[in-house]
């Protein structure tokens, strides 16, 4: 009888993965801790969740974060998809420059972007709040959509659009009948990724938000900095659950994408 060999490489993978999950798991465990002092285990309790659910400020921040995530990923999806499509059709030197600029927000340290937005929005005299948040987040969501859609367009067989034209489709019909359905998985995963990035962002939000507009990460950040109540543990656990859901959605989308690549033909 041959037993499956455990390779050292698998051990290494498992160890690193365990270390990655350790802080997250601890957080979840401590969110059910009765004791207020987080280093002492005082028994199982849901009281921090109850406290959290009674917290209006938290719900407001949550609503803001969701609104922000959806608006900026939708804006980015429209701008990024159209842009990637246009660039695949028109060759121009300006494209290279604009592509460089458009993807810059995820290349440079976030603090630079945050500072740049703060300075520029004050110059324009824009009222800091949801508008400036959406503008800022859209800027760093566009690269994700743009790059994913561009890769998908590059990988697409050009004879598919030619075949549609050959069968009598106008340029506009080709886009809606052929191109758009084929790049939809890329747009969708780009949007999920954008939403996650927007939902995660602290720095840029911190700089461009107004006095009374909190997002969830801003709330967590200020709470961590000012004094920790175990309520955060509960909040973090809930956010973790939301992330889990997002990851699963995106994995499911990824499966769709793989399917359509397989069907591309030999």
């Amino acid at each position: 009888m041959k037993r499956k060999k455990i390779r050292p490489s698998h051990l290494f993978l498992a160890l690193v993965l365990a270390l990655m999950y350790l802080p997250i798991l601890l957080l979840v465990i401590y969110s059910f801790n009765e004791s207020k002092i987080s280093s002492v285990w005082g028994g199982f309790s849901l009281k921090w969740y109850q406290q959290l659910l009674a917290d209006e400020k938290m719900f407001e921040a949550l609503a803001n974060s969701i609104l922000l995530g959806i608006s900026s990923s939708v804006c980015a999806a429209i701008i990024g998809t159209l842009g990637a499509f246009g660039m695949s059709k028109v060759q121009s030197r300006a494209n290279t420059a604009v592509e460089y600029l458009a993807t810059l927000p995820i290349m440079i340290p976030e603090i630079i972007l945050a500072m740049v937005f703060l300075a520029f929005f004050s110059l324009l005299g824009l009222p800091f709040g949801m508008t400036t948040l959406i503008l800022g987040h859209t800027a760093f969501c566009i690269p994700y959509i743009f790059m994913l859609v561009k890769a998908r367009l590059v990988g697409m067989d050009p004879s598919l659009t030619e075949a549609a034209k050959d069968l009598g489709a106008s340029e506009v019909r080709v886009f809606f009948d052929i191109t758009l359905p084929l790049i939809t998985p890329a747009i969708a995963s780009g949007m999920v990724l954008s939403f996650a990035m927007s939902f995660d962002d602290v720095l840029i939000s911190l700089f461009v938000t107004g006095v009374n507009v909190n997002t969830l990460p801003i709330l967590v950040y200020t709470q961590i900095k000012t004094g920790v109540t175990p309520e955060i543990n509960a909040l973090c656990t809930l956010m973790l659950a939301a992330t889990l859901l997002l990851v699963l959605v995106s994995a499911w989308l990824g499966r769709e994408k793989q399917h359509s690549i397989e069907t591309k033909g030999e």
């Binding site: 290494f12 993978l13 690193v16 993965l17 999950y21 350790l22 802080p23 997250i24 798991l25 601890l26 957080l27 987080s38 280093s39 701008i79 990024g80 159209l82 842009g83 499509f85 246009g86 059709k89 028109v90 300006a94 604009v98 600029l101 810059l104 927000p105 995820i106 290349m107 440079i108 340290p109 976030e110 603090i111 630079i112 500072m115 740049v116 703060l118 520029f120 110059l123 800027a139 566009i142 690269p143 743009f146 790059m147 340029e171 506009v172 996650a196 939902f199 602290v202 700089f207 969830l216 967590v220 950040y221 961590i224 900095k225 920790v228 973090c236 956010m239 973790l240 992330t243 990851v247």
Partner: protein, 286 residues
């Protein structure tokens, strides 16, 4: 005439991206560069006067030290990340297709979890008399709490933890595309596993490795809130300096100059990568 009309239609689809990028990325960057050459007004704001004072200020020992510290931390974190992330990505690429899928999913959960939440987990661990201290005392490795929170090692751990996945995904995407038959060919021609690794594998995964290094090095210079949360105020980085100058000292021109220098360093790194990798895009970014 027909084709020109078609082209015009495509230009129309480019318009939103062009407009948004130029107005909300290009113009703000130019504005900050301009700001960095202006003189600071007595209160919040600037005068229209041209000056090099802001750049000169960077070379004052206090601020220069911040740059040096930031670079040191970035180098240290990147080195550690490479040491852990490269073998991880490489071994991951050797898993079965099913294993790869599961591992990707397993990595995505912490990757997409809010970075603050993940860092907060480390606060719990590092806190005086927290789980780590209790464990070490119970194992009789130490007899007093280490009080790791708000120390340099805690910041390094936070950095490594926050950025490790970028390296893993970059190396993985490059190792995944690798033609393993080349390694077999090298072995067939008499190379030892180690020689084969250094002559074939490393070369083929180099774009991923380089891209991973850039994707961790660049943000690590700007992620000041990690240092903020896990290091208290003991570790001051360029990022926190920019924030302080902007928010507390209201010295916008100086903050702008700091940002411009940081951005130049970043651009230089990316350009260097493009040159080495032959003009290719960063790997494993999305």
């Amino acid at each position: 005439m027909n084709t020109r009309k078609k082209k015009q239609g495509y230009w129309l689809t480019l318009l939103p991206l062009y407009l948004f990028t130029i107005v909300f990325v290009g113009a703000p960057l130019v504005y900050v560069v301009v700001l960095s050459f202006l003189q600071r007004a007595e209160t919040w704001g600037v005068t229209g006067q041209f000056t090099l004072q802001n750049y000169r200020q960077i070379f004052q020992p206090v601020y220069l030290q911040t740059f040096v510290d930031s670079l040191k931390l970035a180098f240290l974190s990147t080195a550690l990340i490479t040491l852990i992330g490269y073998p991880f990505g490489y071994f991951m690429a050797k898993l079965s297709p099913k294993g790869k899928k599961r591992m990707t999913l397993a990595l995505m959960i912490p990757f997409w979890t809010n970075s603050l939440i993940r860092l907060y987990g480390w606060i719990i661990i590092f806190r005086a008399n927290g789980p780590l201290d209790q464990l070490l005392i119970a194992l009789r490795i130490v007899d007093q709490p280490l009080k790791l929170l708000y120390t340099y090692p805690a910041v390094v751990v936070g950095m490594v933890y926050a950025l490790l996945q970028f390296m893993i995904f970059a190396v993985y995407s490059s190792a995944e595309k690798m033609d393993w038959s080349l390694v077999e060919a090298a072995r067939d021609l008499g190379a030892s596993p180690i020689t084969a690794f250094f002559t074939v594998t490393l070369k083929q995964t180099l774009p991923g490795l380089l891209s991973g290094i850039i994707l961790t090095f660049i943000p690590s210079m700007g992620l000041f809130f990690i240092a903020d949360i896990l290091g208290g105020n003991k570790v001051v980085l360029v990022g926190s300096l920019i924030q302080d100058q902007l928010v507390k000292a209201h010295n916008t021109p100086f903050a702008a100059a700091l940002a411009v220098v940081l951005m130049l360093m970043t651009t230089l790194l990316i350009a260097l990568y493009r040159k080495i990798a032959g003009g290719k895009e960063l790997e494993g970014l999305v």
